[in-house]
Symmetry: C2
Subunit: 251 residues, 2 copies
């Protein structure tokens, strides 16, 4: 198994993704929100790149069960039902609902990696379950970090590094890490005892705190509060059922 990591959110080589499991990470906050919403019973999430696209999609669906969520400059978008704080996405609001989500970095990322064999959604909230799924799928892995307005993001890379650490610790067969994956692993090892502290060092974490979203870094630094593994397929994110066991083991 090879694990590669894209440290900057530029369009990857699509052909390189065809046979790979892809994990998209945007810790602050899109993938944390997606994991949280689905763990609270949301039916499905449509990630879109622009606010216009979100409104058009809502109009086209015309369903009252549809909620609009997301942010621009960290704040809730006028006319939207929800912002981009994971704690807003509670069962009382999202159970049984379909969501359209428009955020600055994370929701665009899914469309950049849509050629991947299987596209999973990762965050600290579900990192152990994502690692397990990657091990079950047993393919080469491509970790796509959504970044910070096109730039490198410390918090996403630390999360990618935790995924690498969990997989390398559990897999018995050898794993090859690219230079970028080794970088992510070193960053995780440096900050693993103080994830929240790392959110106070990174640009986007500081911005969120300055804008009054102090609770969000705290929420997003929680590890393994759910086993939900969301999967992006045909433009929609849903909870992925676990893969079938090998034929001999089925009942």
């Amino acid at each position: 198994m090879e694990i590669d990591t894209q440290l900057i959110p530029s369009p990857p080589n699509s052909n390189a993704l065809l046979d790979r499991t892809v994990v998209v990470i945007d810790v602050l906050r899109a993938t944390s929100v997606i994991v949280q919403a689905l763990s609270q019973g949301a039916l499905e999430i449509h990630p879109v790149a622009t606010v216009d696209e979100a409104f058009q999609m809502a109009k086209a669906f015309g369903e009252s069960s549809m909620l609009l969520g997301g942010e621009r400059e960290s704040k809730r978008i006028p006319g939207f039902d929800l912002g981009n704080s994971p704690k807003e996405y509670i069962a009382e609001k999202v159970r049984g609902k379909k969501l359209i989500l428009a955020t600055t970095n994370g929701t665009k990322a899914f469309h950049l990696v849509s050629m991947g064999k299987e596209i999973l959604v990762g965050s600290f909230l579900n990192i152990g379950a994502v690692a397990e799924r990657c091990l079950e799928l047993d393919r080469d892995l491509f970790i796509f970090l959504s970044g910070d307005e096109g730039n490198f993001s410390l918090e996403d890379t630390i999360c990618g590094g935790m995924l690498i650490e969990l997989i390398t610790r559990k897999r018995k067969k050898s794993i090859s890490l690219t230079d970028a994956s080794q970088c992510a692993q070193v960053l995780y090892q440096r900050f693993k005892d103080n994830l929240l502290g790392s959110f106070h060092l990174c640009r986007h974490g500081k911005e969120l705190i300055n804008r009054g979203f102090d609770d969000d870094p705290v929420y997003c630094a929680q590890i393994d509060i759910t086993n939900v593994v969301p999967i992006f397929r045909d433009g929609v994110i849903r909870v992925s059922p676990p893969p079938l066991p090998p034929r001999g083991h089925r009942r």
Copy 2:
């Protein structure tokens, strides 16, 4: 002072460089070769992107004092005088000569950052002198890592991290580090006691060793063997004279 680091060798935003000191780093091996050649008395180095360009330039100059150096797939290019191993660039061969250098990653980098206010050449061989010069210039800093065929390179990032560490330790006024610069600094701190070991982990270091260039990583891991600070200006790299002292201190 802000220190930003470009982790992937894609074209940077030129306007962002106008008022910055830029340091280009390609540890294995272009910037190590440049530093070595100038410390051994080479007059000037013309970094070019392609082999054709190198031959055309040599023809145009038509001087017997001109040497061609560089590599493709790590090996010396047919018709060239020198390869890309720093230990080839000794005084007996290069003193008083002008060099044309064509390498896979490093020599292209200079042209990508040509809008920088002052463009310095960094490597472990001269890292202390480069840090001093950056402190004297006292401008925002942009560290450009030449990478590995378009990808992230561990060894360049560790070297960038050492530059950041030296500057932040010596500068009395506050320094702001972008997420990418923090990443580089953490990587340096992780590998500072075993630079050569890090060259055995990174893709390009392993490739060099596999191809029989075992001595080159050892050579390039030496710290501060020269005080030469090469500067790239108008397409040519020369040894930069130290800046004049403030007017009151001139004799």
